[in-house]
Amino acid sequence: MNGWIAAGAALLACGVAPAAGCAATGPVRRRVPAQNLTSTFLSLVFLLLAQGFHRTAYTDTALVLSVLGPAGTLLYVRLLADELADRPPRPRVLRTVTTLSYLAVPAVLLPLCFITGPGRAMGKLLVIGALLVCGSWSAARAVTAAATAGHTIGAPVEGTDDG
């Protein structure tokens, strides 16, 4: 086991597992941001494992996850918009989750880019990083939009809808 695989396992245990725990328990307002954070961390784990196994082709899994992870989150936001509008997530939690993913992406990608060196592989890594950051940003924005839409509609309308 080399250092990259050890780092991947550490991120899996200390980053992915707690985030997945948050996404699996509690109210919907906590689950949706936690699900996005889980997919971001897992994508970074895949990149570390690809470097650890010395297989650059393994980064394809991270690329696919960086596209599908935020897509899954947007899906949840779209289909659970009513629940998110009823009980919107706290802005502080949302900000913390987004900041965590913004910090984790360069913390993992910079050493990987350094060890890869300039070339096509590094371009791929940078694309994955950009996708992850854009995904976190758009997911946070979608959750905020769903929550504020609930505020403008107001409680009585929601009440008649449920009846």
């Binding site: 086991m1 997945a20 899994t61 289909l79």
Partner: protein
Amino acid sequence: MADDLPLLLGLLLVAAAGTGTVLVRDPVRQSFVMSLFGLALATLFLLLQAPDVALSQLAVGSALTPLMVLLSVRKVRRRARGERREERE
């Protein structure tokens, strides 16, 4: 032993997510745990150095299955609501 640590971690995640999926009763909350189960399985496949299987598992597990579950729940709830309204009228 140290070499198998990531694999053990992946197996543990799959076991925990699988058990969680079975234990959760509400379909909406179950779809969250099920997507996490899909992600855990993809991690395990990558740790076993099978990236092609991991890719297909990611595509199916992280977006497609939750979409189908949530769409079905939405449709069933709408139909139940419509029937209730008809009964009242």
